[in-house]
């Protein structure tokens, strides 16, 4: 019961919570470490001085050994007591560590507060197969030592799962295979970059931070040897040598076998020759990335990558190589660097950022490296570069900017230059744009704050969506089990729901929790589909067979469409086939307008308060735009020049449109269409997913939608196909629709612009729609 039992305790047999002690070998390992520490301490005292030896006679040595024995004994007793009184519980409910013989201390850490879990194995612990679990929560680090290696890695996986807010049972993890002795990679981890020992050593020998002290040492040795004054220089040389040894220890021994891996919970770094450290790198806590290249690495194309991780900077002072470190890659080639940086800053396009050099007059001040000074930014990151002996490039996401400072010294003022410092939390990354033109500096600094604010707002929004997304899966497993389907049979998923196949004729549509009023929408759609069930427009239309709710999740059972999804097919078809099918897609779209509307006049057919009738087309459409643009307004004002003008033009144009209303699907895009094999090739035979976008309005809206949404398809020639389809539509309906298609481009550009918060591709598309309309009308 005391030791870490290999079998999970039977839950029914132990109603009282079982606490565990760390591994019984713990005091031994800790005692050993203390012994080593004492030996090193004494060694340092005795060896450099050398003078003390005469004072110790034979009696002195006996005393020394005696004192040593007593100290070791005391340490062993202390170690035993600490071990004996340390108990911990990590189970499905809580994470609690109790320690202290006289002063009892109980630490309970909420799972959500755990920010990272590292495993550290000092040499002595490693030999006997033990590991220390290091929990980083808030500003404090809690250590749990020592556990058996397998248990430590299982607990780490479990805690990280819980830390991400997911439910898991600790018993599920017990079956996992133990990690390897040398790399400590879990089963689910995928190795991204491995640093080979020879490359690590060569890169170290060529690095500026090694060569400079080495050169100084050699120069001192040569000069003093020539002057026969070596003994006098020893006082200076010894600290230098100690410094160099520490460097070898940190950069070579500590980084040995460096592996960067991708685990389901972010990145993970394992490293170390004697002490094996396994450290998780939480991506959302990365504050910046620094890529540096010492001069001599340049011909080899090697780089070093460091990251600022929030909260990791605090241990800087105590120079312990087993502490969490900020190194993402000690040495790597360009491809590996791009891979790692891509993982550390996901979704950032760093190559697209244009870098500006410092003005030429900066050479008077920075004669030693003025040609290396660069800076640049886009809407998400700031990049600065500087340095010749070691060239470094600092990348900071705007959302992590803390504050901004402009500095200008007297000489700089004469030269009209200034530095801009962008501050981030403690760490190796230091973004300083050196020696900019005064005006550029001012603009950079002041606009940086705006960019930071916008980026933070976008990030907050994103987080809200992410939270909503994890909530979406609540109760899903039970629901799927009730229908006898597995998670592995999804047919597709959209913003509102996920779809699973039940059998050949039916699908289960599972609405997302955050989707507003799915019950109401689904009931309205059911009635709408029912009213169309007898009309034959030569198209398969959706039908809702059943509405229901289980475990708080709302679902419908829908009729399954025959044929296959058009979007998936488009990506593989060749051009002739594709274009033939696209014609039938346009035909299908045009047929939709023959559907009966439940109400006359312009109206919203689905959604809150529907059917909601409007007097004119422009009233209806501007009502549709109100919701989405309310949330995206600020973003659009930043991203679209003259957005107010575009908005007014759109409304003016819509006010002039006179047309008899017809049913408009509102979102006819290939993912909502189904394709079957006809006698003359593939034909679009079904249109699915009517939604709150569905209205009774201008029939041209769907024709325009069919071609402009096609641009969003993820295959290479989508834009070309869309342009071609537009030409076909113009041929059918006359040249006057060109202008109206442009009007609806702008309409849909505004209508979907709230996508900036959750779908960047869609938002970029919106901006294109709004941008291209500027010149045409």
């Amino acid at each position: 019961m005391i030791t870490a039992s290999p079998n999970p305790p039977d839950p029914t047999a132990t109603p009282i919570k079982q606490t565990e002690r760390p591994h019984p070998l713990t005091p031994l390992v800790r005692g050993w470490l203390i012994l080593v520490a004492i030996a090193i301490g004494w060694g340092r005292e005795i060896v450099p001085g050398g003078a003390g030896e005469n004072q110790f006679g034979a009696g002195g040595l006996t005393w020394l050994l005696l004192v040593l024995a007593v100290v070791v004994l005391l340490a062993a007793i202390a170690g035993f007591i600490t071990w004996y009184f340390t108990r911990f519980v990590i189970d499905d409910e809580e994470l609690r560590i109790e320690s202290g013989a006289i002063f009892k201390k109980s630490t309970k850490i909420p799972f959500e507060r755990v920010q990272s879990v590292d495993i550290v194995q000092p040499l002595a612990a490693r030999i006997v197969g033990l590991a220390e679990l290091r929990l980083d929560a808030g500003n404090s680090t809690t250590k749990l030592r020592y556990l058996s290696r397998g248990k430590a890695s299982r607990l780490r996986d479990y805690l990280l799962t819980r830390a991400h807010g997911q439910q898991a049972s600790i018993r599920d993890l017990d079956q996992q295979a133990a990690a390897s002795v040398f790399t400590d990679l879990g089963v689910a981890d995928r190795s991204l970059v491995r640093v080979l020992p020879q490359r690590l050593i060569v890169s170290f020998l060529l690095s500026t931070e090694w060569l400079v002290p080495a050169a100084i040492t050699i120069i001192i040795l040569v000069v003093t040897a020539a002057l026969a004054a070596m003994p006098y220089a020893l006082g200076g040389l010894i600290p230098l040598l100690i410094g160099m040894l520490t460097l070898v220890w940190r950069r070579v021994i500590g980084m040995f076998n460096f592996t960067l891996a991708e685990s389901p919970r972010g990145l993970r770094v394992t490293r170390g020759l004697t002490n094996l450290t396994s450290q998780s790198v939480p991506i959302d806590r990365i504050q910046g990335v620094k890529t540096s290249q010492p001069l001599l690495w340049k011909p080899l194309g090697w780089y070093r990558v460091d990251v600022d991780i929030l909260g990791y900077g605090h241990d800087d002072s105590d120079n312990n190589e087993s502490n969490a470190s900020s190194v993402l890659l000690p040495v790597a080639d360009l491809a590996e660097v791009e891979l790692a940086v891509g993982r550390a800053l996901p979704g950032f396009d760093l190559d697209a950022i244009e870098l500006h050099p410092a003005p030429r007059r900066a050479r008077w001040l920075r004669w030693f490296d003025f040609w290396t000074l660069r800076y640049g930014w886009d809407d998400r990151t700031l990049i600065t570069e500087h340095g010749w002996l070691t060239h470094s490039r600092d990348v900071i996401p705007h959302a992590k900017t803390q504050s901004v400072r402009i500095e200008q010294g007297p000489v700089q003022r004469r030269l009209r230059l200034a530095d801009v410092h962008v501050h981030t939390p403690r760490g190796p990354v230091n973004a300083v744009a050196h020696q900019l033109d005064e005006r550029a500096a001012r603009e950079l600094a002041l606009s940086q704050l705006d960019r930071a604010r916008a980026a933070r707002a976008a990030e907050r929004q994103q987080r809200r969506v992410d939270v909503a997304r994890t909530d979406d899966h609540r109760g899903e497993a039970e629901l799927l089990a009730a229908f006898g389907i597995g998670r592995d049979q999804p047919l597709g998923s959209g913003g509102e729901s996920e779809v699973f196949a039940i059998d050949h004729d039916r699908v289960l549509r599972l609405y997302r929790d955050r989707h507003e009023a799915p019950r109401q929408t689904a009931a309205q759609l059911q009635a709408l589909y029912q009213s169309w069930s007898d009309s034959d427009i030569g198209l398969e239309l959706p039908l809702i067979i059943e509405l229901g709710e289980l475990n708080g999740r709302f679902f419908t059972v829908d009729r399954r469409f025959s044929g296959r999804n058009f979007s998936g097919w488009l990506q593989h078809g060749d051009m002739t086939q594709r274009r033939a099918a696209l014609i039938t897609f346009l035909d299908a779209t045009e047929r939709l307008q023959h559907l009966r509307s439940p109400v006359p006049g312009f109206a919203r057919l689905v959604g809150d308060g529907a059917p909601q009738q409007f007097g004119t087309l422009v009233e209806l459409l501007s009502n549709m735009l109100t919701g989405p643009t309310q949330s995206s307004r600020d973003q659009l004002e930043r991203d679209v020049p003259h957005v107010a003008e575009v908005w007014n033009q759109l409304h003016a144009a819509l006010a002039q449109r006179s047309v008899a209303p017809a049913v408009v699907h509102g979102d006819v895009c290939p993912p909502n269409a189904y394709l079957s094999q006809g006698p003359e090739g593939p034909v679009v035979t079904g249109i699915a997913d009517f939604s709150p976008h569905t209205v009774h309005a201008d029939p041209l809206m769907d024709v325009a939608g069919a071609l402009i949404f096609l641009e969003l398809e993820p295959y290479a020639d989508a834009a070309a196909d869309a342009a071609w389809l537009e030409a076909v539509a113009v041929e059918r309906h006359g040249p006057e629709i060109v202008g109206w298609i442009d009007v609806y481009r702008r309409f849909y550009g505004f209508y979907f612009s709230n996508a900036y918060a959750f779908d960047r591709t869609l938002y970029a598309w919106c901006l294109r729609q709004l941008g291209r309309s500027g010149g045409s009308q």
């Binding site: 901004v404 400072r405 939390p425 604010r453």
Partner: protein, 142 residues
């Protein structure tokens, strides 16, 4: 406050070598020379101190606080309210003697180093309360 240090510090620093030189060599005119140098420095610094004092400034803007200072080395620092973690009001013994206080803003970055010295205690507390309030209103995670 700065005027005071300007007045006191150089004479003290220069007096020590002056006295030592005087005592050791007995040539007290050298000490006089050293004192004269100290006086010149005090005068130069006095002219600068008003400029330096005037160079400190701060603006409360809608979303951030700007602080400028420096005569020779100028700097402008902008701290968004949402990033402030801590607002401190400090007043050392000398400052207290002249009824002055310093407001320091801390963010998650140690480099921020935003301080506004030489405020009256009322202004300092007002600024602190105001900034804390704004910080809460704009608060955002890291």
């Amino acid at each position: 406050m700065q005027i005071l240090t300007t007045l006191i510090v150089p004479p003290i620093i220069f007096t020590i070598p002056a006295v030592i030189v005087g005592v050791v060599s007995g040539k007290w005119w050298i000490s006089g020379l050293i004192w004269a140098v100290a006086l010149v420095i005090v005068i130069i610094r006095l002219t600068f101190v008003t400029r330096s004092w005037r160079s400190w400034g701060y603006v409360e803007r809608e979303d951030d606080l700007y602080i400028t200072h420096g005569v020779m080395f100028r700097s402008l620092i902008a701290v968004p309210y949402g990033r402030m973690q801590l607002v401190e009001v400090e007043s050392g013994p000398l400052e207290r003697a002249f009824a002055l206080a310093t407001v320091t803003l801390k963010t998650a970055s140690p480099e921020t180093g935003a301080r506004i010295p030489g405020l009256t205690p009322e202004e300092a507390t007002r600024l602190r309360d105001r900034l804390t309030e704004l910080g809460e209103a704009h608060a955002s995670g890291l």
